[in-house]
């Protein structure tokens, strides 16, 4: 009997091994498929360039000490046009170097989007999982809460929260977390409910796996791709909404952030100084576009059935 058990466990190990190989092979295939779409590749290239710019910011431009996230002010060179020596992209009315803002803005945006995406995924996945697994009244209540959160338009909700908390970059992060977790809760709940009905989950249950084991081993890994797609799209959306809040004036003035810089550049527009708003705004656009392209490409490959909504 014990011999029997031993051989069967060896057999299962062998199965796991090949299952791993299958999974690896599938992942490789997915990557290949993603790279087949030219627009996805374009998006990916822009994403990589943006990330490089964010990571190498201290090398590309000399950090402004003591706080490199603050714009350096060169009052003597205020209102310089692009291609002025020392100010490749010109300066704002208040002597802020646009190139510095563009480069360090990438770092600010990366910080913003990474923090918000991580927090919203954790919160959303947890709440969605609870709703899906527990079901019943708990599910009903949680989903009504989600509905209420979804009934306030995104930007206006974030705007109100950031306004109440007071203007600062940290509060923008908080506001975005409160607004953006909802989608993950919905996605996760749907996934849990869908996967719960699969045969392999029944099989695991019959074999005596606990609810927690089933969740960790079967449900969570299989819900990965839709969450991943949404997270990629949100890397772009968060910067888009965050920059809009900054533009309206909810960040600290003077930080190296694209929305703040566009807002600062507005003052020179009527006098024909177009550059201070144009370049940082272009960065927001490229950032959001790149992550949207990659997210769409991922979705096409990972989850071909869902339509592109919104």
């Amino acid at each position: 009997m014990s011999q029997d058990l031993k051989t069967s466990s060896v057999a299962i190990e062998g199965l796991n091994d090949s299952a791993l190989k299958v999974r690896l092979k599938r992942n490789l295939e997915i990557i290949q498929n993603v790279l087949e779409n030219p627009t996805t590749v374009i998006g990916l290239i822009i994403v990589i360039l943006m990330l490089l710019m964010a990571l190498l910011a201290p090398i590309i431009t000399e950090p402004n000490m003591p706080d490199p996230y603050q714009m350096p002010r060169d009052w003597k060179a205020a209102r310089s046009a692009p291609l002025t020596p020392g100010h490749v992209l010109g300066t704002t009315n208040r002597g802020g170097d646009v190139f510095y803002g563009v480069v360090w803005g990438a770092r600010t945006s990366l910080k913003l989007s990474l923090i918000v995406v991580c927090l919203t995924v954790v919160v959303g996945v947890t709440i969605g999982s609870i709703a899906g697994i527990v079901g019943g009244k708990v599910d009903e209540i949680l989903m009504r809460v989600v509905d209420v959160f979804l009934s306030i338009p995104e930007l206006i909700f974030a705007l109100a929260i950031a306004a109440i908390l007071g203007p600062s970059f940290t509060n923008i992060i908080l506001a975005l977390v409160v607004v953006f977790w909802v989608k993950y809760a919905r996605i996760m709940r749907a996934q849990v409910i869908r996967i719960k009905q699969r045969e392999y989950v029944d099989a695991a249950r019959v074999m005596g796996d606990s609810k927690m084991q089933i969740y960790l081993k079967d449900i969570l890994p299989n819900s990965f791709s839709p969450v991943m797609v949404q997270a990629t799209l949100d890397m772009g959306n968060i910067v888009l909404v965050g920059a809009t809040l900054s533009f309206i004036g909810l960040s600290e003035a003077g930080i190296a952030e694209w929305g703040v810089l566009v807002s600062e550049g507005q003052a020179g527009i009527s006098a024909g100084r177009w550059w201070a708003s144009t370049f940082p705004g272009l960065m927001v656009f490229l950032w959001a576009l790149a992550f949207n392209l990659v997210g769409d490409g991922l979705r096409d490959v990972l989850d071909p059935r869902t339509e592109t909504k919104r």
Binding site: S151, I152, P153, L155, I156, A160, I164, A243, T278, V284
Partner: protein, 337 residues
């Protein structure tokens, strides 16, 4: 489920959502602290401060304050706007008309342009025009409105001088009555053509800026659903019957492709509504959005609460209407889920 039952059920959920939203909005503003500040001045002594607190029920527990707020709202008391230096109720209608005029104009731009571009691209799949329109519509979802609006401003206001900013030429509009608050309609009612031209002229740039994102979304949906329709058997049948390609496209495929597009049009309404905040700041449009933006920067709670509540309710109702239209257009839609 029958359509009637579906509508009734959705109508029953609506108040629940509205109450939920009001709780969130109220809780949110109380996180920011008591709004007593705007009612006080430096000359008041503690007794007077206490009196003010009692007068506005701010000495009561927060849940009780919520009910006083709701009671006030139902009686038309939306509080005092520090930004406008007037009761919110008095300022609201005029600003609302300004914002709706802008949003509707942007909606007209988005729907007409979106459907036209989407049809054009879908009927010429994988040709040059299709590729160009696809790039435009893909970029639409990623376009920061504040940037696009500023680009338009730089090109058409600063460089070319074609379009003005603001809402109107005050000289023209002081003279005519404002029964609706919509300047284009007011001008027409007054029979003043110069004023009408002026109002339209002021509308074009902000409407295009605001409508661009929605145009892109609609065009994208229209294109993909038209392509799907054109692959259906009935299209071949219609062609085999001898109908001209143009007729098949217009009378059959486009009509069916419009069904999913309608839902997307509803979704873009929220997009337009929140976009007005940014568009109004940049084009100096005196509407709700610009009011909200200054309220946000100065912590004007009554205005923020009213604005968020109002837009959410509007958003909920529009979504409901869209879902009902959609269910009526396409009987295959499974209701209830």
């Amino acid at each position: 489920m029958q359509i009637r039952d579906y509508i009734i059920r959705r109508l029953l959920v609506l108040p629940v959502l509205i109450i939920g939203t009001s709780i969130i909005v109220f809780a949110l503003t109380r996180i920011g602290g008591s709004p007593i500040g705007i009612y006080l001045s430096h000359e008041m002594n503690p007794a007077e401060v206490q009196e003010m607190k009692e007068r506005f029920h701010l000495d009561k527990p927060v849940p009780v304050q919520y009910f006083y707020w709701i009671k006030g709202v139902t009686q038309g008391d939306l509080g005092w706007s520090g930004v406008a230096s007037a009761p919110v109720v008095d300022v609201f209608p005029k600003k609302f008309a300004a914002t709706m005029e802008l949003a509707i104009a942007a909606g007209i731009v988005a729907v007409s342009l979106g459907i036209a571009l989407g049809t054009f691209a879908g009927a010429r799949r994988n040709k040059l025009a299709d590729h160009i329109i696809r790039v435009v519509s893909v970029s639409g979802a990623s376009m920061p409105l504040f940037w696009f609006a500023i680009l338009l401003l730089i090109i058409f206001w600063v460089w070319l001088g074609w379009f003005p900013i603001g809402r109107s030429d005050p000289n023209l509009f002081e003279a005519i009555p404002h029964p609706t608050g919509f300047y284009t309609i007011d001008a027409l009612l007054a029979g003043n053509f110069a004023a009408f031209r002026d109002a339209v002229w002021h509308l074009i740039m902000p409407a295009v800026a605001l409508g661009y994102g929605a145009t892109a979304i609609i065009a994208r949906m229209m294109r993909s659903s038209l392509i799907e329709e054109l692959q259906e058997d009935y299209v071949d049948a219609a062609k085999a019957k001898g109908l001209a390609e143009r007729v098949v496209l217009k009378k059959h495929a486009r009509r069916n492709a419009l069904i999913p597009t309608v839902t997307v049009i509803g979704l873009t309404f929220g997009f337009l509504l929140q976009g007005t905040v940014v568009a109004e700041i940049i084009f100096r449009w005196p509407g709700l959005g610009r009011w909200m933006a200054s309220a946000v920067l100065r912590g004007d709670q009554a205005t923020i609460m009213t604005y968020v509540m109002f837009t959410s309710i509007l958003f909920l109702i529009v979504n409901l209407v869209v879902d009902i239209i959609y269910a009526n257009l396409d009987r295959r839609v499974v209701l209830g889920e």
